[in-house]
């Protein structure tokens, strides 16, 4: 290009967008090489990594858990009831493109020529199971293989225990009702073993073909049969079908998924999800703070740039465009790098969790990446943009007069942007108003407390400083000199430490709670329907076979009639939908063969009108010893010197029915009315899969009313064979096998626990990043100040000591505030979100401040040591350039 042509190309027009972008990219590249942008980029990458990583992981885990839980149902959705749902619904589901199957479950006696046995019979259609596998063997306790065909007509598959129980071998004949069946396989495992009422699982399984059921004549009007329609297919189709069913049935039937079926699993999942959410919120928030801090420092260093660019003819808008370009490029890099890292992180977690998540995970969707990118975008605009855009207000006069204030822009504006951005992020991201409110409240609270506290402390600090040594004086005067900065630092440090403490404590509490819920030795068999006279014999049977016996609880159904003479209210009216808590005991007891859950009697109400009152029957017990996992919270436990006529009530239940200590309750037990006075209130762990009772009576109150006993056993592997001997000796007792269910819950809890650990670690990294950027943010000023101090003759040792004291002081302050904040937010989180009981963590009150002091002092000292180690001349020259 000739000189002339190029001159012609230079129009009077100002810099074009491409020119500005080129300048932006060059600045970006040079600043990157100079290390200026590393922390900023790191913070943004961190935000994207944590969000996309956590979202990817939860996305896939969630789907995996749903898939796994689908095998718990043998289907994606189940429709069940005591009545058979309309047959047309199956056809409609098939028409909509869903796979369907049908199951009928009932308890029945089966016979061989020598013996009989109460079994849990289950008749299934050809398509069963829709999800999961049927595992069978050709020998009792033989090697298992998969056979999803199900028993052919005229055949049954039975659990191992049935064969010795009836004295049969494979190929022999078994009688069920009017039917005659060949035992063709040993059933080792069925996916939905635990589904349905407990009675469906009372006894070993006999699996038969649905088409054989009519010929047995076993199902008569009034028989207790559980009907289940199984559905599997695409999620959207399932949802459409669920709506259709709801319309058809007026809410009488409902499609359930695993969350409806197992309170324990759904609790664990819900808490795990809340924790992951909270963790990623903290991670994003911390990354946001880090972004804000680093962007601020970056922009402070660029005021000179802006001024020089202005003298070179850049307009304010062009300067904005340049820095916008820089941010946009950063965003792009952060999104790409963060997404890749996020992917790696989640792959890493999965690798770690391989043993706990044995199933193949479904492919991740693209949403997590969008989430990560969007988060980075919001973070950028809320936290990084304001200080950088303030650059355009730089006066070009700055090139002549250095002292001109850098930002004439109001300094509170960036914070307003940041706070608004954080709020949007939290709400949008959590979609959970409660968690958002708690989080925002915690942050606001800390900021508020801090302002007051640091103001006071920084003041008293000055008074103390006058008396103390000169290093202390130097440190305190530094803290006061940078009061705004010091307060900001304490704020950032305490928010970071608070986040970490909250998550760490929550994690520990959750995991401890789960371990306490279902410890390794949780009994996994319920024995019920044991008569008074059988108890002693069974206890010695267990002792002879070296199995640990657990307490035998007498159990009887009791209906609460009146409270202090007034009719008892019903805390949970809808007993079909299980809106209330139902314990293993209730679930088991309610299904006892001849025991209805509720019945109607005609009572004369207080107003004289006769109306039927539905009485809710609860399984109750009596005991002198307080059962494990029960805590008396009002009154006191009667212990061994109890008097008859007392009752202990579960606290929540008492609240719902409006009962307090000393109230007189009248129960109907086996057609007799029993009066008892409320002696104490208990809390109960409902999720421990153990016998739990709303009402416990003092011994001597109900003893004469013909209770049966309930006990639990821990039987694993080969030990289960003992059940046969036990049942042969005591044929009338009922054994519920919940080992598969407990194992499943334990495995899901283990998965969720690992996820929680990981999130806590991720947030830790984010927190470290914030601490680092916060310390770095004051570095320039420290360099200048210390160089001046040293030229004035202050010794290295003095400056080092004063630095250490300064950071330790700020760290201590932050630690104290963080501890208070963490305990407060934990209180609200645990009681409102995680449904845990909160108790103060005493050790944290020491550990929090101590950790704050040590960490901040170490970090700050390490980062600023180079301030002291560089020669004052070099520093002054560097800064004046």
């Amino acid at each position: 290009m000739s000189e002339h042509a190029s001159r012609a190309a230079v129009s009077t027009a100002t810099a074009s967008p491409t020119t500005l972008m080129r300048v932006a990219l060059r600045l970006l590249w040079r600043d990157w090489r100079g290390g200026e942008l590393r922390l900023l980029l790191l913070a943004m990458v961190m935000a994207v990594t944590s969000v996309s990583g956590i979202a990817l992981f939860t996305d896939r885990l969630e789907r995996a858990l749903l898939q796994e839980s689908a095998t718990m149902l043998a289907a994606d959705r189940v429709l069940s009831g005591r009545q058979m749902p309309p047959r047309e619904w199956l056809d409609e589901a098939a028409r909509q493109g869903l796979a369907t199957a049908e199951v009928q479950a009932f308890a029945s006696m089966v016979f061989s020529d020598q013996a009989n046995l109460l079994v849990a019979a289950k008749a299934v259609s050809e398509a069963y199971p829709l999800r999961g596998d049927l595992r069978v063997a050709d020998q009792p306790f033989g090697a298992a293989y998969t056979d999803n065909a199900g028993p052919a007509r005229g055949e049954v598959w039975v659990e191992s225990r049935v064969l010795p129980g009836l004295g049969l071998d494979i190929g022999d004949t078994l009688y069920l009702g009017d039917g005659e069946f060949v035992v063709s396989r040993v059933l080792v495992q069925e996916p939905d073993r635990q589904q349905g009422g407990m009675m469906d699982n009372a006894g070993p399984r006999v699996l038969m073909n649905l088409d054989d059921v009519p010929a047995t004549n076993i199902i008569q009007p009034g028989s207790r049969v559980t009907y289940r329609y199984l559905f599997a297919g695409e999620l959207v189709v399932l949802d459409v079908f669920a709506d259709w069913v709801r319309e058809q049935s007026d809410g009488g039937f409902r499609l359930r998924d695993v969350r409806d079926e197992s309170q324990e699993v759904s609790d664990a999942l819900a808490r795990g999800e809340s924790f992951l959410l909270l963790g990623s919120l903290f991670a994003v928030l911390l990354a946001g703070i880090a972004i804000a801090l680093t962007a601020r420092r970056y922009s402070e260093r660029h005021f000179d740039y802006a001024a020089i660019l202005k003298t070179l003819g850049c307009t304010s808008n062009q300067i904005s465009a340049i820095y916008f370009g820089i941010l946009l490029s950063l965003l792009l890099i952060a999104v790409v790098v963060g997404s890749v890292l996020g992917w790696l992180v989640h792959e890493g977690i999965l690798l770690l969790l391989q043993s706990v998540i044995p199933i193949a995970l479904p492919e991740a969707s693209f949403t997590p990446f969008w989430l990560g990118a969007l988060t980075a975008f919001i973070c950028l605009f809320a936290f990084a943009m304001p200080p950088l855009l303030a650059l355009k207000h730089t006066s070009p006069l700055r090139v002549l007069r250095k002292d001109l204030v850098a930002a004439p822009l109001s300094t509170s504006l960036p914070y307003i942007f940041g706070i608004a951005g954080a709020l949007v992020l939290i709400l949008w991201y959590s979609q959970d108003v409660l968690i958002s409110v708690i989080l925002v409240g915690a942050v606001a609270g800390v900021a508020l407390v801090l302002s007051a506290m640091s103001y006071l402390l920084l003041r008293t600090g000055s008074a103390a400083g006058m008396r103390a040594g000169s290093a202390w004086m130097l440190a305190m005067s530094a803290v006061r000199r940078r009061r705004r900065q010091s307060v900001l630092q304490v704020l950032v440090f305490s928010l970071t430490i608070m986040s970490l403490l909250t998550l760490a404590l929550l994690r520990t509490d959750l995991i401890n709670d789960w371990q306490a819920q279902l410890p390794e030795d949780t009994p996994n068999h319920f024995m019920m329907n044991i008569s008074d006279s059988q108890v002693a014999g069974m206890q010695s049977f267990l002792q002879d076979n070296e199995v640990d016996a657990n307490p035998f609880y007498p159990m009887v159904a009791a209906g609460l009639l009146t409270v202090n003479g007034a009719p008892a209210p019903h805390p949970w009216d809808d007993d079909d939908d299980e809106t209330g808590r139902s314990t293993m005991t209730e679930r088991a007891g309610a299904e006892q063969p001849d025991d209805a859950t509720s019945d109607a009697t005609t009572e004369t109400a207080a107003d004289g009108s006769a109306r039927p009152q539905r009485v809710e029957n609860r399984q109750v017990t009596w005991t002198a010893q307080l059962p494990p996992d029960n805590d008396v919270v009002a009154g006191s436990w009667w212990g061994d010197d109890s008097r008859p006529g007392r009752v202990s009530v579960e606290q929540d239940y008492a609240e719902r029915i409006g009962v307090s200590l000393g109230d007189e309750l009248v129960f109907r037990v086996n057609e007799q009315e029993i009066t008892a006075v409320v002696d104490n209130m208990r809390t109960v762990r409902w999720d421990n899969m153990q016998p739990n009772f709303f009402f416990i009576f003092s011994p001597g109150t109900l003893d004469h009313l013909g209770a049966t006993y309930l006990s639990t056993l821990l039987l694993e592997g080969e030990d289960k064979l003992l059940l046969n001997d036990l049942l042969r000796q005591y044929p009338t007792i009922v054994v519920l096998e919940v080992d598969a269910l407990i194992e499943q819950i334990q495995s899901i809890i283990a998965q969720v626990s690992s996820a929680i650990e990981l999130i806590a670690a991720l947030v830790l990294v984010a927190g470290a990043l914030v601490l680092l950027s916060c310390v770095n943010a004051t570095l320039d000023e420290r360099f200048r100040e210390n160089a001046i101090l040293r030229t004035l003759g202050a010794g290295r040792k003095l400056i080092m000591t004063s630095l250490l004291i300064e950071f330790a002081f700020i760290g201590l302050l932050a630690g104290v505030i963080a501890t208070i904040g963490a305990e407060l937010s934990l209180y609200y989180l645990q009681s409102e979100v995680f449904q845990q009981t909160f108790s103060l963590h005493y050790w944290v009150w020491i550990a929090g401040p101590l950790a704050g002091t040590v960490i901040i002092a170490t970090l700050g000292f390490t980062a600023t040591r180079k301030v002291v180690n560089s020669s004052p001349l070099a520093v002054l020259r560097q800064l004046s350039a």
Partner: protein, 239 residues
Amino acid sequence: MTAMIEARHLAKQVATSEGQLVILKDISLSIDAAEAVAIVGVSGSGKSTLLGLMAGLDSASAGDMILDGQNLSTMDEEERAQLRGRSVGFVFQSFQLLPSLTALENVMLPIELKNDRDARRKAATLLQRVGLESRLQHYPNQLSGGEQQRVAIARAFASEAKILFADEPTGNLDAATGAKVIDLLFSLNAEFGTTLVLVTHDDRLAQRCGRLVRLVAGEITEDSVVDGVGDGVGDAAHV
């Protein structure tokens, strides 16, 4: 010939905690194209402030400032920035290079901002002209003060400005280095036919300009043609 720079009754005052501080009062001054003017005066007399006003880095409290035929007083900061980009180059006491860019990139910057594709070659030529052809890829902190100021001079001429403002360009340099830098400044100035406004304490430096304007407490006390160097362009007048 019309004036390249014309100040009419220019005044500047700022609000301080102790009330209004008058920095400049009633400055009238006219500088023709290709003239070289030195502004001298004791520290605090308002030299830098006047330079800033003339270059459109700041706006006056009163009076008109006409630069290259355009009235700065009626322009906003955006328009002034564009005018600076077109017509004005700067050399500062503290060099004011962008520390994260190399010498070459610093000189390229004003050329690029004019959308000139040929920036790299032109910048390299200019750096060669100031004797830094071997330091193109060096960063400012790898250069001595004199070298940095030579880069700044190259950058000032890179924008093909009609007017060059220099605020104590030798203030941070020793005498020998300062002299070299000044030689360079004047020879480039002559070569490009630029109008030069130079603020300095240094009388010997002032002698090299054709005209000398003295400020005392914000007022012009002297405006004279300098003997020996004068090329007959300036007006000799005592105020």
